[in-house]
């Protein structure tokens, strides 16, 4: 049963990927990519990696999908949607040969892999020192906190990079198109109903993340979705990129994280937590990160500044 399910799932994944990569209609490709992302999340569930499944569904399928739809819209507005005809055959041939070679190499490498135990046991042995029940959170914010620190700064840098694309004449203005909706329409009423629920889910995900699947990145994505919902339903517009409170929210999480790391360095152990307070410190960092990640993701989706009012 289980193997049959896995094989069917993998077949669907490959089919969705093929349609996303080589489908004729570009918008269709984007839609299939989102379907593909959801299927990949299912694959992670099947492997029992719930944290990754949540991250893949929320970020890999959700946010990336929204981004790609936004890019499609932007290309359409610019009249730059590339034609959907297939590439010429020599290109396809070379690409297919390269793909076959790469795939063959990777499969050879997989087959030649010696069995090794990985670090499951080591993590289980050591995570007690951080007083965390979720081993993935223990790795993300404990053992390999430096990766996570750099990664949050990659997000901040990406936002600066996206903002750098703003046309100068609208700098300081508002990103994304303006959304309006009838005050008594479906959008507005749903837009009022869903955010409190989303907020609840988001806070729950960080809170649970210490011991169960979840964490700052998954929660931040949910909160970003709430933000986007509010904007889409026309209840509030995006903030100006020049807004100081907004910028403070963006840097708060990484600043707390980096500050904790540097404070540790002054105390003798960079990115180390004081014994006995590791869990508290990690939870504080996670809450701060969640808020910043939510704002950063929402603004990455909104894109460069586009209008002054």
């Amino acid at each position: 049963m289980s193997l049959a399910f896995d094989l069917a799932l993998c077949a669907f994944i490959l089919g969705a990927a093929a349609l996303a990569v080589a489908g004729r209609n570009l918008f269709g490709s984007v839609v299939f990519y989102i379907v593909y992302g959801v299927l990949i999340a299912l694959a992670w569930l099947s492997l029992g990696a719930v944290d990754v499944a949540l991250a893949e569904a929320a970020i890999g399928a959700g946010v990336t999908g929204v981004l790609l739809i936004g890019a499609w819209q932007g290309m359409k507005e610019a009249g730059a949607l590339e034609d959907s005809q297939a590439p010429p055959w020599p290109v396809r041939l070379w690409a297919a040969l390269g793909a076959a070679l790469t795939g063959g190499l990777v499969i050879t490498a997989i087959i030649a892999l010696p069995g090794q135990d990985g670090l499951t046991r080591t993590v289980a042995d050591e995570q007690g020192a951080l007083a965390l029940g979720n081993p993935v959170t223990a790795v993300l914010l404990g053992f390999r906190a430096y990766d996570t620190l750099l990664e949050t700064l990659v997000l901040s840098a990406a936002l600066a990079a996206v903002w750098s694309l703003s046309p100068e004449r609208v700098w300081g203005g508002i990103p994304g198109p303006k959304h309006v909706s009838r005050p008594d329409g479906v959008m507005a009423s749903f837009g009022r109903l869903l955010p409190p629920l989303g907020l609840l889910v988001g806070v729950y995900l960080v809170w649970a993340g210490a011991d169960q699947p979840g964490g700052a990145f998954q929660a931040g994505t949910v909160l970003a979705a709430v933000w986007i919902l509010i904007v889409l339903s026309g209840l509030r517009d995006e903030p100006r990129v020049s807004s100081l409170p907004l910028r403070a929210v963006i840097i708060a999480g990484p600043a707390v994280f980096l500050g904790a790391g540097l404070a540790g360095a002054l105390a003798g152990q960079a990115l180390g937590y004081p014994p006995g307070y590791a869990r508290t410190a990690i939870l504080i960092i996670e809450y701060a990160l969640t808020v910043s990640i939510a704002a950063t993701l929402a603004l990455l989706i909104a894109g460069p500044a586009r209008r002054l009012s």
């Binding site: 892999l113 010696p114 750099l150 990406a158 694309l165 020049s242 910028r247 540097l262 360095a265 152990q269």
Partner: protein, 491 residues
């Protein structure tokens, strides 16, 4: 280890500070430049006694991440700090001042610090996945800065960067799957257990990093991106960014997988490096635009770095010339950082002053912009490999290693490369002094801007004059057999 984390963390802190400081963010460079340079200098002093390093948070690899700085790392961190500091101060002329915030005046600074942070993080890390995150931080900032000049070139750069990082990541993942670790020293211990998988992983990592380093024939994205960018950005991209991926490549082969490189791999690196030198130099000679010439010169100069693989013998066993080749790599990396940044800054000033970017526009400019022209000349001396400069030390050590190891064909390439560098650099140099009379030029926003390339050029020369200390530091981590190479290579 805490000092190493501070070096990686300080630019990150300035990244965040510049995001919140708005139009005052530019002034942060007055703090960032001395602070980070001082930290790097302190590290170099500490490393002089012994290599620095340790596990972050006390979590030893394979579970945690260890930072490490050997002599080479310390020298590169210091050179990088110097280059970034001077370039950052130079950039005040365009992205600073009391003017109201604009998209570029605001975003330049976080991207600049992000790039610096990515460089430092790459130079101190020995963990394959951590290096991945670090080089992505570097890439995203580099591409965004390149888009300040040409968005088309930036898109092409981005695509290569994306492909390169995926190949690298796939290799790193396979290494973990095979060996259960991402730490280089543990990889070195365990690699023989899974030779086949590790070799494929190494091939993927190498391919990805070669694309990011713009090694011939994967160099196509570089000249448009570096040539079209604003002055300070060109300097950062050409001097720093392409070095990061090479340093990872060298560390993977020499520290992570010593002995894995067969003769074929080593020869392939050597041949590609030699081809890059010849191809880049020939194209540089044919350019009519000043910045395009300098950008193609980068393609050529990157080729020298890959000659280190055959010259050092692939790291399999320490030979008498290993230290020489390793030192040559360190000198070439540092000297090219300083000289190329200085060359781009000087070129930017001259193009601004002359009002045109063709080499022909430079006629007689040496009389109108003597300081800038002097800086250009100093940087050119190092790039050509003329004594007494850091570039000379690099090429001299390479020649010694090539002859000592009996690989005279590489010696020929190195000599030919030096001659061709002289040929393409004499084109603009000759123009600077051509004609009579002083051409009218547009005044620079700040006269002191001309000091920036002068400092870099002088540093590139000083690296040759005071070569003993950096050389001793750079080869300090090498096995004892290297000592013989040191004596033989002493100029």
């Amino acid at each position: 280890m805490n000092l190493l984390f501070a070096l990686a963390g300080a630019p990150l802190a300035f990244l965040l500070a510049s995001l919140i400081a708005g139009r005052h963010g530019a002034r942060l460079i007055w703090i960032a430049a001395p602070v980070i340079t001082a930290l790097a200098f302190w590290l170099a002093l500490e490393t002089h006694a012994r290599p620095q390093g340790g596990a972050l948070g006390g979590w030893m690899p394979p579970l945690g991440i260890a930072l490490e700085a050997d002599g080479l790392g310390a020298v590169l961190l210091l050179t990088c700090a110097l280059t970034a500091s001077v370039t950052g101060l130079f950039a005040l002329g365009r992205y600073g001042g009391a003017r109201p915030e604009s998209a570029r005046r605001y975003t330049f600074w976080p991207l600049f610090y992000g790039l610096w942070a990515g460089m430092n993080a790459v130079l101190v890390s020995r963990d394959l996945f951590n290096l991945y995150v670090a080089i992505e931080l570097l890439s995203i900032c580099a591409v965004a800065l390149a888009a300040f000049g040409s968005r088309q070139a930036a898109v092409n750069y981005m695509m290569i960067a994306l492909a390169g990082s995926l190949a690298y990541l796939l290799g790193a993942v396979l290494i973990y799957a095979a060996l259960g670790t991402l730490d280089m020293s543990l990889i070195a211990q365990r690699a023989p257990e899974a030779r086949a998988s590790v070799l494929i992983a190494a091939a993927l990592i190498t391919g990805g990093l070669m694309a990011k380093t713009a090694l011939f024939p994967l160099h196509g994205w570089l000249p448009p991106a570096h040539g079209a960018a604003p002055t300070a950005v060109s300097a950062l991209l050409s001097a720093l960014v392409v070095k990061a991926s090479f340093v990872i490549l060298a560390r993977v082969w020499f520290e992570g997988l010593p002995g894995l490189a067969g003769a074929g791999v080593i020869t392939a690196f050597g041949v590609l490096g030699a081809a890059a030198i010849v191809y880049g130099s020939v194209l540089a000679i044919t350019q009519t635009g000043l910045k395009a010439l300098i950008a193609y010169s980068t393609v050529a100069q990157l080729g020298y770095l890959f000659l280190v693989f055959p010259l050092a013998g692939g790291g399999e066993s320490a030979t008498p010339w290993t230290a020489g080749a390793w030192g040559a790599m360190g000198f070439h990396l540092s000297a090219h950082m300083l000289a190329k940044a200085g060359l781009f800054l000087a070129a930017g000033l001259m193009i601004y002053g002359a009002g045109g970017g063709r080499i022909a526009d430079l006629t007689g400019l040496a009389r109108a912009m003597p300081v800038t022209s002097l800086a250009f000349g100093l940087c050119a001396v190092s790039l050509m490999g003329l004594p007494p400069s850091g570039g000379f030390m690099a090429k001299y050590l390479m020649l010694i290693a090539a002859l000592a190891s009996g690989q005279w064909h590489y010696a020929l390439v190195i000599l030919a490369g030096g001659l061709m560098a002289a040929a393409y650099l004499f084109k603009p140099l000759a123009r600077l002094f051509a004609g009579t009379g002083t051409p009218a030029i547009r005044a620079l926003p700040h006269r002191s801007m001309a000091l920036a390339p002068l400092v870099l050029g002088a540093a590139a020369i000083a690296l040759g004059l005071l070569s003993a200390e950096p050389y001793a530091l750079m080869v300090s981590g090498l096995p004892e057999a290297g000592e013989a190479g040191l004596e033989e290579a002493e100029p």
